[in-house]
Amino acid sequence: MTYSPGEMMTVAAARALAPGTSCFVGIGKPSTAANLARRTHAPDLVLVYESGTIGAKPDRLPLSIGDGVLAETADAVVSVPEIFNYWLQPGRIDVGFLGAAQLDRFANINTTVIGKDYTDPTVRLPGAGGAPEIAASCREVIVIVAHSRRTFVTTVDFVTSVGFGAGPGDRERHGLRGRGPQLVVTDLGMLAPDPETCELTLTHLHPGVTLDEVRAATGWELRVAAELRTTAAPTDTELSVLRALENPTS
């Protein structure tokens, strides 16, 4: 089956969610990928949404983080203070799944303002939401974001959520307990932090994508892993399940 770059991105992100883990899910691509994972290789994935639904098993894609289908199918529905204080803050959640408006080479995330002047921004974005503490407290973080120079910038205009700060040791200095972003999935490939420098390094190209294309879509001089791999193309099963999720009537 043929597939779009967006479908490749969602499938690659879904595969990164291991069976039996708990995942703090945002709406949009993270939610689509997590629900795809639960319908393919990880049926026991525990979906946690910031609206307070723990262990949601929706039979369709939720349209918001507080969709009724999440509450109806959850193991537990708790208050918002509880989900952040008792479940997220102590590090009980394995994976946090985040998007970004801007991302830098140390995987710091901006979802607040575009432009250097906070009080007079070029674009006012929605803001932090749950992301700063998800990035700080989940055992690890996966970022899913479309690859472009507008997004992949040398320095983010505003640090909403910390990846690796300015480099090695920064997470520890800030008292952040999780390991930080371990994977960035884009529509062109996948990146992971270098174990020594913490800098995002291209590890995978999606099928048909060239290294030059990724470099052209990255706002910094991109480091590439010694062994650059090609992502396995989506299987027919993955694509069928994904399309049924996204277009339930067709």
């Binding site: 709406i27 349209l63 009724g68 999440l70 929605p126 939401g129 909403t160």
Partner: protein, 267 residues
């Protein structure tokens, strides 16, 4: 004391110019009809508090009711931006809007401290981000027992909390089920409160897991069927996703918004 009254009477009694007002509801049970009543009564200079300013806050801001917004995520969920919010924050239309920006965890803890009668809350949060540099109500604090540096945020104690719920009985006891967000915290943190409900019944049918706010903890209760629309009330109606999508075009343009306001709220 959970006094049963009309929406118009409750807003006239509880919401005054210059007040700090929190309309809460986390996707579910957003008190939209109450927001429209505040617009109709022409309130001004409000400090609007809400974790996720929804389109009801876009409408209040566009109608010129707000002087300041305290929030943690301002967007039209699944659709895009809140254009009336952006226009007010960036261009001062119809009046300039001051902002005080937090994370969800920070806001939730501010309400929890307010409900607990404490001056502040402590959390692991904000460290390493640019938020503390932009928000005066975020400060480091050292644990007196371990020496660990954590984050303090001051309690939020709004003048009035407004939430929506499924049911109340005739004594003003309120029953809520499904996603309850910060309903309990904001009601208990605020000096007065209004709960709009889908229906008032003779007796609340017991529902396991449902949250009951006793009437003596609430100031006013008003029966407002479909009072959360376009958000939803579990057991009564679904979220109107088409309305959220259609808001984008209406809110992008000042004239389209003004026409909408006259036709749908001020009529």
């Amino acid at each position: 004391m959970g006094q049963i009254t009309t929406l118009a009477e409750a807003v006239a009694r509880l919401v005054h110019d210059g007040d700090t007002v929190a309309l809460e509801g986390f996707t579910h049970l957003i008190p939209v009809a109450a927001g429209h009543e505040i617009i109709r009564q022409g309130r001004r200079d409000l400090t609007l508090v809400r974790m996720t300013p929804d389109i009801v806050y876009d409408q209040l801001i566009g109608a010129g009711c707000a002087r300041k917004l305290v929030f943690s995520w301002a967007g039209n969920p699944g659709v895009g931006s809140l254009h009336r919010f952006r226009d007010a924050a960036q261009h001062g239309w119809p009046v300039p809007l001051e902002i005080e920006e937090h994370s969800h965890a920070g806001m939730a803890n501010r309400y929890a401290a307010g409900a607990a009668g404490l001056p502040f809350a402590v959390l692991r949060g904000y460290t390493g981000t640019d938020l503390p540099g932009r928000t005066a109500t975020v400060a480091p604090i050292t644990c007196p027992f371990t020496g660990e540096v954590l984050t303090a945020v001051p309690a939020l104690n709004p003048d009035v909390a407004i939430v929506h719920a499924q049911r109340a009985d005739r004594r003003g006891n309120v029953q809520i089920w499904g996603i309850s967000g910060v309903h309990k915290e904001v009601v208990l943190a605020s000096r007065s409160s209004l709960v709009t409900v889908e229906e008032i019944v003779d007796e609340l049918e017991p529902r396991p897991g449902a949250l009951v706010l006793p009437g003596w903890a609430i100031t006013c209760v008003a029966e407002v069927p479909r009072g959360a629309h376009p958000s939803y009330a579990m057991g009564y109606y679904e979220r109107d996703n088409a309305y959220y999508r259609s808001w984008d075009a209406i809110s992008r343009d000042r004239d389209a918004f003004t026409a909408w306001l006259r036709a749908e709220v001020l009529r």
